[in-house]
Symmetry: C2
DNA sequence: TTTAAATAGGATAAAATTGTCCGAATTAAA
DNA sequence: TTTAATTCGGACAATTTTATCCTATTTAAA
């Protein structure tokens, strides 16, 4: 469903949402530890998210990553997924047909349509701000 | 969501369901053409499905693949997905946590739960026998 | 001004997935 | 009985994804 890069990206961003509420910066090492991910690979993913302007970074000593207050209000998982994995989740046919549509559907097009809509709705409704408190209160987890 | 191998496996099986109703065998070349897939790779997938006993094969001249009448009645997409991709779709957490459960959930566990259930239900309800007629009548397609 | 901590970015490596090739075994038909 | 069409199985190759490493750049603080 989601690539590893995307999984890390989501977890990192939810972690950052937590920290950013307290105006804290987090560096790659802290983030990778918090979400139990490979440090260097996570760094690449974070760079991608910075380039996509979903998160922000400060270079140099005492630098790190954070999410702008303004961004925090609106940032949802669909934005992260799209930034990292592209829009395949939205556009791809379940059976991989390059042209699968209402008119020329694959055999499961109609059944899959509503599921895909639910996935997108779920991702869009999941703002990182709404997910962060659960993690802070240890009601949900970013690692085992 | 599904691997390429799995996509080919599903399409091949739906095609075979069609042919098997007329007691026709199909060889790899025919199948690969019908579903627009790489021949040698498709052969591997078909071998996997034979080993899993979801489809059958006849070796030698005039040989090929087919689905037993008995099997045809019950064969659904979940069986094919599980045979090729394993049970990851059923067991995996959306964020890749190795231990994600009702008690120790990831941040999207509860939201994803019902979607996952819908996907599984959809796959289980999609028997190849139910999908084949649409393809035969050109109401749905296995390739563009 | 020097040092050290941090992000940025490029090159490379490892692993997984996707895809190809070839020879062995099987079997219908010439 | 030979031939040719076919599945089967192993080895290999290409591509993509995942992951690591190293150097450059930035910048706060000693």
């Amino acid at each position: 469903m989601l690539s590893k890069a995307c999984e890390y990206g989501i977890k990192a961003t939810v972690f950052l949402a937590q920290q950013s509420k307290d105006n804290k910066l987090s560096n790659v090492k802290e983030i990778a530890q918090a979400i139990d991910s490979p440090e260097a690979f996570t760094a690449k993913v974070l760079q991608q998210l910075v380039k996509s302007a979903l998160i922000s970074s400060v270079k140099g000593v005492k630098g790190g990553f954070f999410i702008e207050k303004k961004t925090l209000k609106k940032l949802n998982l669909l934005q992260i997924v799209t930034a990292i994995d592209g829009d395949g989740l939205i556009t791809n046919c379940m059976l991989g047909l390059s042209q699968c549509s209402e008119i020329d559907p694959c055999p499961v097009h109609h059944q899959y349509k509503s599921i895909k809509a639910d996935i997108i709705k779920m991702l869009k409704n999941s703002t990182v701000e709404s997910l962060a408190p659960g993690v802070a209160q240890r009601l949900s987890f970013l690692k085992n």
